[in-house]
């Protein structure tokens, strides 16, 4: 079943189309990768799905419900949660409270104070950050802050999770850990849609990949199909040999 579907999705900034007539879908339970050169429109597409930006034309549906015209907080409560390319954590709170916000406000149904209070410890443990719960989040490294964002998004009990460049800045060992985490998340029943530049992760865990270039979808398929695509090599990968490192 298609958990997320977009038809003719278009976004204009002035006269420039950042996203142009894109059709896409995400199947429930899959890990779908989104790659493309810098400025191709990947984060813009995420912003359209989460309603951070209004769509210019086209339609996006989450489990048959149209998302057009809805506000970000409504979309979150419906079951779509996300992280951000430039981490948007609540800098005035400790780690635990950051996750608590997600637990209190983002769930599909209203939760009691007691139930919400139990949630952050679970999510933080899931992402491996229990030791840092009391730390003010501004004292964390950027990489750890990103993981808190993941815990925060998980606390909203999503069905679909949008990850925006989770692996940026990670060394190879850390990338492997993050790949395990993402797979673990999917195994709990959450569908994943991820923007990434780290090819090791894309090749390693994505079942399908979609490629954007100048706002248009230029390729789609299994990792091996996409990586062998000549246009993708030319505009994005640069060298065949290094896809997968």
């Amino acid at each position: 079943m298609r958990i997320l579907e977009g038809q003719g999705v278009t976004k204009y900034f002035g006269g420039l189309a950042a996203v142009s007539d894109v059709d896409f879908h995400v199947d429930q339970g899959e890990i779908l990768g989104l790659i493309g050169p810098n400025g191709a429109g990947k984060t813009t597409l995420f912003n359209l799905i989460s309603a951070a930006l209004p769509i210019s034309s086209g339609e996006i549906r989450f489990k048959v419900q149209k998302l057009n015209g809805l506000k970000p907080h409504q979309i979150c409560q419906m079951g779509v949660s996300r992280t951000f390319q430039e981490t948007k954590v609540f800098g005035n709170m400790p780690v635990l409270q950051n996750v608590l916000v997600g637990a209190f406000f983002g769930t599909p149904t209203r939760v009691s104070g007691a139930a919400a209070a139990r949630e952050p410890a679970q999510s933080l443990e899931f992402v491996g950050l229990s030791a840092l719960s009391a730390t003010p989040i501004k004292d964390l490294t950027l990489v750890d802050q990103k993981r808190v964002e993941v815990a925060r998004a998980l606390a909203t009990k999503p069905e679909l999770l949008l990850l925006d460049e989770l692996m940026a800045g990670l060394n190879p060992a850390e990338v492997s850990e993050a790949m395990e985490l993402v797979t673990k998340i999917r195994d709990t029943g959450i569908t994943i849609f991820m923007v990434e530049h780290v090819m090791k992760a894309i090749m390693g865990i994505c079942e399908r990949i979609m490629v954007l270039h100048h706002g248009e979808k230029i390729a789609e398929g299994t990792p091996h199909e996409v990586v062998a695509n000549e246009t993708v090599i030319e505009i994005y990968l640069g060298e065949e040999a290094h896809a997968g490192s």
Binding site: F13, I35, G36, P37, N38, G39, A40, T43, Q85, E86, T141, L142, V143, D144, E165, A168, G169, L170, N171, P172, A173, E174, V175, S176, H197, M199, I235, Y236, L237, G238, E239, H242, A243, S245
Partner: protein, 247 residues
């Protein structure tokens, strides 16, 4: 396992860091760090997040003051100098996470890089060179820097650093947020810069590609240098690759 680097007579040390101790408040970020970059080299510094890579670069630039140890540039001690003076001596740092002037256009950001009077004289020429390397920046030169995508911003940050006509260029994770092809192009730029006589210190997480470009590399862990050697040696040693480089 520490190999001592050979000191070749043809190259003189451009940057020499000796026994650096740096603290953030009460916690020690760097312990006894020593590192050398010879003229004309490309040296890589790799390590996990929070290991101290950015701290080291910030100390060399003068943004942080060491508690003990020294930093020498072309034989002259710089660890007590103010950052803008260090920059005038010919060191440029291309910071992690872009740090652009978001209220200015792409072109203005680049021009801000040519701040010293010597760099100002060659501004037009250098600007053309930067546009050759990153043609999309020429297209977007009148656009506000705020509107750029993550990777485009990275390109501007690198271009801006190059505008100061440095002798030593320190890159802090240039691959961050860049498409693979673009990062490979950045590495090509790094090689070209070396041909022009610029020395490079490259802090990176994308280890494999970086080692193929760098002459030597240091591995830092928990604020200490734990490994040092030529790229060739490091890439050939399977144990090192798994234990320290994670590949």
């Amino acid at each position: 396992m520490r190999q001592s680097s050979r000191y070749t007579l043809e190259r003189r040390p451009m940057l020499e860091v000796s026994n650096l101790d740096v603290f953030y408040g009460k916690s020690q970020a760097l312990r006894g760090v020593s590192l050398r970059v010879d003229e004309g080299e490309i040296v890589a510094l790799v390590g996990a997040n929070g290991a101290g890579k950015t701290t080291l670069l910030n100390t060399v630039s003068g943004l942080l003051r060491p508690a003990s140890g020294s930093v020498e540039f072309l034989g002259k001690r710089i660890d007590r100098l103010a950052p803008h003076k260090i920059m005038k001596l010919g060191i440029c740092q291309i910071p992690e996470g872009r740090k652009l002037f978001s209220d200015m256009t792409v072109g203005e950001n680049l021009e801000m890089g040519a701040y010293s009077s010597e760099a100002k004289k060659r501004k037009e020429e250098t600007l053309e060179q930067v546009y050759q390397v990153f043609p999309v920046l020429k297209v977007r030169r009148k656009q506000s820097a705020r509107k750029l995508s993550g990777g485009e911003g990275q390109m501007v940050a690198i271009g801006r650093g190059l505008m100061s006509n440095p002798r030593l260029c320190m890159f802090d994770e240039p691959s961050y947020g860049l498409a693979p092809k673009l990062f490979l192009e950045v590495l090509e730029v790094v090689k070209r810069l070396r041909k022009q006589g610029i020395t490079i210190l490259l802090v990176e997480q994308n280890v494999r590609n970086t080692l193929e470009v760098a002459d030597r590399a240091y591995v830092i862990e928990n604020g200490q240098i734990v490994l040092e050697g030529t790229s060739k040696d490091l890439l050939q040693n399977e144990q090192i690759k798994t234990a320290y480089l994670g590949i």
